[in-house]
């Protein structure tokens, strides 16, 4: 059974001036120096390894953690590793105002939840969400709650294709289930 309600500790990707970082590209998420790696379990240690201020993320992240990022998260290259590195760390989901197109697809195909959240910039700016807060998100209906502060907010729930692929456990499993139908 796929999980739909996630509770986890939040990481808000801000720069040293306290602003939510926009346009984080796939080289900042997973640098091209490690593209030759094909084993997902080896990818976690390089997550955000080229993002100023966040290079020690892999040593701090814990399974079940949730990431909030600025708009156009995952701009740039088509590398699947930029999604898989978070899966390797067992990050449960990523939310951002928008994602790079290829990045978003890659995440959907991997069965890794990526959720658009229009109000994320305002939430981060007003510190209604902060690193270390605990949040609870139901990805079927897009209802989110910061359990540390009681603040509630909305994220876009999974689209139909996204949900089908997620429920199947990824694109390959989904294709398999289509053939069997």
């Amino acid at each position: 059974m796929s999980e739909f309600v996630f509770k986890g500790r939040l990481w808000v990707l801000k720069d040293d001036k306290g602003n939510l970082i926009e346009d984080i590209d796939t080289d900042q998420i997973y640098h091209n120096a490690y593209l030759h790696i094909t084993d997902i379990s080896e990818m976690g240690r390089y997550a955000l390894g080229n993002l100023e201020g966040w290079k020690d993320f892999p040593s701090k992240a814990k399974p079940g953690d949730i990431i909030a990022a600025g708009r156009n998260f995952g701009a740039g290259s088509s590398r699947q590793q930029a999604v898989d590195c978070f899966a390797a760390l067992k990050i449960s989901l990523i939310m951002a105002p928008s994602f790079g197109a290829i990045y978003f697809r890659n995440a959907v195909n991997s069965g890794f939840p990526v959720l658009k959240c229009a109000e994320l910039e305002a939430l981060a700016e007003k510190e209604h969400i902060k690193t270390g807060d605990r949040v609870e998100i139901d990805i079927r209906i897009g209802k989110a709650r910061n359990t540390s502060t009681g603040e509630t907010f909305q994220v876009e729930p999974l689209s139909s294709v996204q949900r089908q692929i997620y429920e199947a456990g990824g694109l390959f499993a989904f294709a398999q289930s289509m053939e069997e139908r």
């Binding site: 640098h31 030759h36 088509s78 590398r79 139909s160 694109l171």
Partner: protein, 416 residues
């Protein structure tokens, strides 16, 4: 209600109704993988599908362009993994001698107008330059495409960009592209298709269209098209690819998310400063920036016309002592053309390093990497922090890169 260009192409490749926001299953005419992503595709395929064949080996390709020939043992392994898989499945490999995959697909007639093409290259949408819906995808998508010949796709909205005015040398398609990028940023075209109209783009050659369409990726767009074409372009693309080019036009009543007008009159040479391609400035305002190196090439500016533009600046001149100019032709065909037309000679005599064809340093390939503290001016398409090493990268046209390498500072050919 009529269709935009992208909607027409998708509609020809699906049974489902095509409207922006609809998610459809789309037939793919060509699917490809590079030496980057390719080994992951092979690994996925073997895990998921074992000894089963690919959907259609005639429509499936490997193109090696990143580390060519392999500059590390890892890439040597990666390429050999792909070669052996390709032999078993009967798939054609455009190997390390051929050049940038997306360009090779154009030259070999695999990216016909109106076709759908995917590959493990985020600049695969460059194929919009020849009216093909190219799309970069990750290795899971490409594995699935190899096996089924299909993909799911959310039909994007389309933005219409109408360009007005005219511009002259030394400004080029790259300056035009950087100017448009400075206007659209990463928001206006985000997750949308773009159609470019107006005299400034109608007159663009294939190389110029490639430059413009390649950087739709940096605009965060899905793909860009230039529906209007002159006879010179039609002849150029047909002679190059050997396949008939049928211009694709949008219906008169097609619906656009937005129409944006941009006046390009008096366009001056531009450069994108570190660390965002949208951080575009006038070259004349960067004349204080001294450079250590230059790079001419990449999928954005690696055609013969780009090499000639640089050679015309460099002919009879020398790259400044202490500056290294690195040049990488896009493909073997480009290499052959610059060799036969004497362009290579002009580049070589200026003191430049000219390598075999390929991507260059964009994804840590051979040529174009920077060391800490190094400032490079490059014709490539991205200058993200740390991407090509720890140095600073400025993005500009071949002419500006050539002039800058002669003077040792960021400069326009007019400064020579």
């Amino acid at each position: 209600m009529g269709y935009t260009v992208i909607e027409k192409i998708i509609q020809r490749h699906t049974q489902q109704e095509v409207r922006p926001g609809h998610i459809v299953w789309m037939i793919l005419d060509v699917r490809s993988a590079r030496d980057f992503g390719g080994p992951n595709v092979v690994k996925n395929f073997q895990k998921e599908y074992g000894d089963k064949p690919v959907a259609d080996r005639k429509k499936t390709f490997f193109t090696f362009d990143l580390s060519v020939p392999a500059c590390s043992l890892k890439y040597a392994d990666s390429q050999q993994i792909c070669r052996e898989f390709a032999r078993r499945k009967g798939i054609k490999v455009y190997d390390v001698n051929e050049g940038i995959g997306s360009h090779v697909l154009i030259e070999r007639g695999h990216a016909a107008s109106g076709s759908t093409v995917v590959g493990t290259d985020s600049h695969m949408n460059i194929l919009g330059a020849v009216g093909s819906f190219g799309q970069g995808m990750g290795d899971v998508d490409i594995t699935f495409a190899f096996k089924t010949g299909k993909t799911w796709f959310e039909v994007p909205e389309t933005v219409k960009v109408i360009l007005k005015g005219e511009f002259n040398a030394p400004s080029s398609a790259k300056d035009l592209t950087l100017f448009i990028l400075s206007k659209l940023g990463t928001r206006e075209a985000a997750l949308k298709a773009v159609e470019f109209y107006g005299e400034p783009v109608k007159e663009l050659s294939l190389a110029g269209r490639i430059t413009l369409c390649s950087m739709v990726t940096e605009m965060a767009g899905i793909v860009g098209f230039v529906p209007e074409a002159n006879d010179r372009f039609l002849k150029e693309i047909q002679d190059l690819s050997g396949v008939e080019y049928r211009p694709l036009t949008a219906d008169p009543d097609a619906r656009y998310a937005e129409e944006i007008e941009i006046d390009v009159s008096g366009l001056t040479p531009k450069a994108a400063a570190p660390f965002q391609p949208t951080n575009v400035k006038d070259v004349k305002d960067l004349s204080h920036v001294s450079i250590d190196s230059g790079f001419i090439g990449s999928c954005t500016n690696g055609r013969t016309e780009d090499m000639k533009a640089a050679a015309d600046v460099l002919k009879g001149r020398k790259v400044k002592q202490g500056v290294i100019l690195k040049i990488v032709p896009a493909t073997r065909r480009v290499y052959s053309e610059i060799l036969k037309q004497g362009i290579l000679d002009d580049l070589f005599e200026s003191g430049a390093v000219v390598s075999n064809p390929g991507c260059g340093g964009c994804a840590e390939g051979h040529i174009g990497l920077t060391g800490e503290g190094e400032t490079q001016i490059s014709t490539a398409n991205r200058n993200f922090a740390g991407k090509q090493g720890k140095g600073n990268n400025y993005l500009a046209s071949p002419r500006v890169v050539a002039a800058s390498c002669v003077l040792g500072r960021i400069a326009s050919p007019e400064d020579l």
